[in-house]
Symmetry: C2
Subunit: 619 residues, 2 copies
């Protein structure tokens, strides 16, 4: 099979047979589109990924970015791949045609960009950040900020970053200490926005330094001191700023003056090495724009509303992280399936034992290898469907009618922590299984699976750790508005159950999922029954895990309904095999995975105090 | 705390409070020993690990061994550390004093060697292989082979290897094609054993080439062709040979002649880089000992009994692998516990929310961080206890009375697959949790936890993969002799249950474990109820996982009984904290882990056919 053909076929099934994305072309925003234009975009991304990214993924790992004290050096293929990507127009896939965008649905744009992650999640990291940065400016920036910064980012002339964390403030953003002070006389009337000077340190900044593009647009969270010169404690004091590496005029032309943002160092990572990850110093005086120290930066939105603006973009960013994790899993599945079909080893166990005079069989014939492949399939194909389902909700939120918008918004609130966390955990497990299928070979750097596993380990950490996702889900999302988000999800699941109940081969699974859903609801109530946050949230991660597995069982039942309908419709040959594969993966998920929920939920339901009560001195 | 002090204290608790190893000194073989000599050996190993290994573990990772076409280059600290280790006498820790050994119990020797794995499992790999090699010769070699080869290995002058796998035969040893042909006239009367010439390729040979020692003793599985010149198919045709890198005379003096064993290449691994891993060519004519091609090798034991001899050593080798995996987990636990106690971040959730004006707290105070630490503690301390329990069984097998020997042998058969597989899976998970505790820092190479995780991934692969361990357990060990091994284990567990039933704080846990044990027995029967191997073994890995978790629950109940007795005996202060930690880890294991068995067992009990019946074309 050609590059990522397995994913292509699955994505087409998800997009068309299940999500029916071509119906989006009936909406005014997507009226220029059709199934054909959607396919053309997938073709484009698949080709770019195959030609520009896939051949250099290992190089991007072995030739880690270096910093000589002045400049960062990246492998040239990374630079060229990202420039080709920028030139393709995919950075602006979802933007207005008037802005040079392709005005595509999020669902199709995500499905297309997934090819890049399949080929090299590390090399492609620059794109995700740039889209997130520019998208935020489209939602919260002034027209001038959009014209100068966002437009240049969508065009691929400049790339963007998100500067949230600091060395002393990772998950705890309320503790950031980067200061933003008004930049003297007339600063508030700067055409690019109220001008400030930033001083502080930002840590874990991906794509924070490189020379792929002529400029880098940093979006920076910082605090404006009060009249007493002190920073406001907590998240309410946080504002958002645009801080370009090179200063620009109000038409977006480079002035040639370097801003006071300096690379303090590169982080040396376990994986994901194609994307630089940096510690940046703002305003330390390394450069002196306008003759003085301090990084020139322009306020976005109102003071004190920085975190709110940042979180606006979080849903899409987190779906993007989840999809990246998913595609790493998919790449490992492809590699291990290919290996298992080629590699002869051993013979089937028969009641009469094994006959060593017979030739060896390909290892795909061994039950345990099939178990490891089917588990990977269930994880990665299920995760693709989950991510594209969430992307479809983004489209609904953007282009649906009022009722549909609201419902999609509620569902996204509840599903985003799952879309981010579930593939980060289970597609990482898929990567481990891929290594195991290859055995000793999988442990060597002669095969790609060990890199997938290393690259994927980041995804449980960045964009909100697993623990943060769990607190977000159980502490906020399932209880907000009296549990409205959870109710909407339960309603959607029950619609699926009603359809599956009418489909004989799936009726048992419908009963299993109904029980799981009911149990999840009861446990959510039990967790909060005392109203004490520490008791409810002490086991938030097991709750997140069970919630995720229940959601994925629902996704798999949806896919199985789609596949069963196509089989009942008379699919034959290779098509029938493809559809039976969906049913087998669904079987695997319902029999081997869904039952794992109960052990996770038991501790949540009991508000088990084991981890809460253990004392530091006992560890 | 000093280097590995946390492990030291736990090991002392396991060795003395639980296993009462000092009572072994009552036996004639260990009569020269006492608690003091045991402590002295632990001191020695701890110091060597701290001074010679720990400071260079990262270097052994970043300066991977290289091959210039002629010679292999290792970092000098690895060479010096292994020479210091060899000089310490620890290689011969268990051997007879007459042979220069320390004549220590296996339990104590393993507990001591664990320090080396804690400091650098990769640098220490040479020792485990050398001990296994020489131990095999002590069991199966002639007096001359023992005097010439084993004695030089125990003395640390030569190191050893185990050459089983071939490029086309990994898990399937029946397919090896290395040929062994008698080396002409008088070959059968060679004082070092019937002399043959080997021709073939051996893959994944750890420590297969280096210059730490003046010679390398390869133990090689090969097949002697029949009269028709053909190799006997299957494992019955396999014989075992000694094949030194440099030829020696019958007194063990180097003759200066190079044997025809050549390094074809080094494998470039994900981790575990301190130990070279090689592809070796035997008899390709690179060297011409005695004027002709072919690697000179001496038969060990009888023709066709090579695999039996190799498996003789497998129990100890697999316990060694399990202990290595365990100590990697322990090293990660130490690093993440230390970090969690130092790192301020965030504030506790209270019913009134969080007060950002308060100082941040160390992350060890957050429930989810405590969950991740307690899980690691339960995995790694439980695994230490399991491995040392197995080592204690080896001592019983070696020095117990006839009945005790037999019972220990049966238990070892059943427990060895668990001792090998369980830490390989769950202490790897511990390593992942350690990364998660450190967050972004854990993903960088500035901290040791990412290396632990990479190093540990090997352990589910080498010395028999997870899948092979599972087949060994469910296909052989629990059914052999009418299930005698499982009965003996069940009897031991029921003795624990009887004691725990009398101890009020542990009575509930006793009931839970009793139910788990009963379920495990019933599922074992259900798996085999049709007598069809493919049906029983299709879900062998989930069975292995459930079996392992049940065994570990038993181990934790044993440790809890020991801790509770000490608390009831009036322990106070730091001692009481230490003991309460054991009870908390037991609580964690019974509440969060033991319930995971049921989802695994369901598919085994149902002889679930999902993975067996999925067709290649559906994947």
């Amino acid at each position: 099979m050609g590059f990522a053909e397995h994913y292509r076929r699955h994505a087409e099934f998800v997009l068309h047979d299940w999500l029916q994305v071509e119906r989006l072309a009936e909406r005014p925003r997507f009226a220029e589109h059709s199934r054909e234009t959607f396919s053309a975009v997938l073709d484009l991304a698949q080709r770019l990924a195959r030609e520009r990214f896939a051949p250099f993924n290992r190089l991007a790992d072995t030739e880690e970015p270096t910093f000589d004290g002045e400049r960062v050096h990246l492998p040239q293929p990374t630079v060229e791949a990202m420039r080709a990507y920028a030139a393709s127009g995919l950075l602006a896939a979802m933007e207005d045609e008037a802005l040079g965008g392709l005005q595509l649905p999020c669902t199709v744009a995500m499905a297309a960009n997934a090819f890049i992650s399949h080929a090299s999640v590390g090399m492609g990291g620059y794109a995700m950040l740039t889209r997130g940065n520019a998208g935020l400016l489209m939602a919260h920036g002034t027209p001038a900020q959009q014209r100068v910064f966002a437009a240049n980012e969508f065009a691929g002339r400049w790339f963007g970053t998100m500067c949230l964390s600091e060395p002393q403030a990772g998950s705890s953003l309320s503790d950031i200490t980067t200061r933003a002070e008004p930049d003297g006389e007339g600063a508030e009337r700067d055409p690019l926005g109220p001008r400030h000077r930033l001083r502080g340190h930002k840590m874990w900044i991906s794509a924070g330094e490189h020379e792929i593009t002529e400029n880098i647009v940093h979006l920076v969270l910082a605090k404006i001191p009060g009249a007493d010169g002190r920073l406001v404690p907590g998240v309410r004091g946080i504002s958002l700023f645009i801080c370009p590496k090179w200063l620009v005029d109000d038409q977006g032309a480079l002035t040639g003056e370097r801003n006071d943002v300096a690379l303090a160092g590169l982080n040396h990572k376990l994986g994901y090495r194609g994307t630089t990850n940096t510690l940046l110093n703002f305003g330390e005086g390394r450069f002196r724009p306008g003759g003085k120290a301090g990084a020139v930066a322009y306020l976005v939105g109102r003071p004190g509303e920085g975190l709110k603006a940042m979180f606006h973009m979080m849903n899409e960013a987190r779906i993007g992280v989840g999809l990246g994790a998913t595609m790493l899993g998919y790449a490992g599945y492809d590699a291990s399936l290919d290996y298992a079909r080629q590699r002869p080893q051993g013979r089937p166990a028969t009641p009469a034992g094994k006959d060593p005079t017979q030739p060896q069989v390909p290892i795909v014939q061994h039950a345990d290898v099939r178990r490891m492949l089917l588990a990977q399939k269930a994880y990665v194909e299920g995760a693709v469907a989950l991510e594209l389902y969430c992307a479809r909700l983004v489209d609904e939120q953007d282009t649906g009618d009022a009722g549909a918008k609201a419902e999609a918004g509620l569902l996204l609130e509840v599903l985003t922590p799952i879309a981010k966390s579930w593939p980060s955990e289970w597609c990482l497990e898929a990567n481990s299984l891929a290594i195991q299928v290859l055995g000793g070979y999988g442990y060597t750097r002669d095969f790609p699976v060990e890199q997938h596993w290393r690259d994927n380990r980041l995804n449980m950490i960045h964009e909100g750790t697993h623990g943060i996702q769990a607190l977000d889900l159980l502490g906020r999302k399932v209880v907000m508005n009296g549990g409205e988000g959870l109710s909407v999800l339960a309603h959607r699941v029950s619609q699926t159950l009603a359809r599956a109940g009418q489909c004989a081969p799936l009726a048992d699974d419908a009963n299993r999922l109904a029980a799981a859903l009911q149990r999840l609801g009861a446990v959510t109530k039990a967790a909060w029954s005392t109203g004490v946050p520490a008791e409810a949230l002490g086991n938030a991660v097991p709750y997140l895990q069970a919630f995720g597995h229940t959601v994925l069982a629902w996704i798999w039942l949806e896919l199985a309904l789609t596949a069963q309908a196509a089989l009942d419709g008379g699919a034959t040959g290779g098509d029938a095999d493809f559809l039976r594969g969906k049913l087998a993966a669904k079987d695997y998920f319902f029999r081997h995975e869904l039952p794992k929920c109960e052990p996770w939920l038991q501790v949540v339901a009991a508000r088990d105090a084991t981890t809460r009560e253990v004392q530091d001195a006992w560890l």
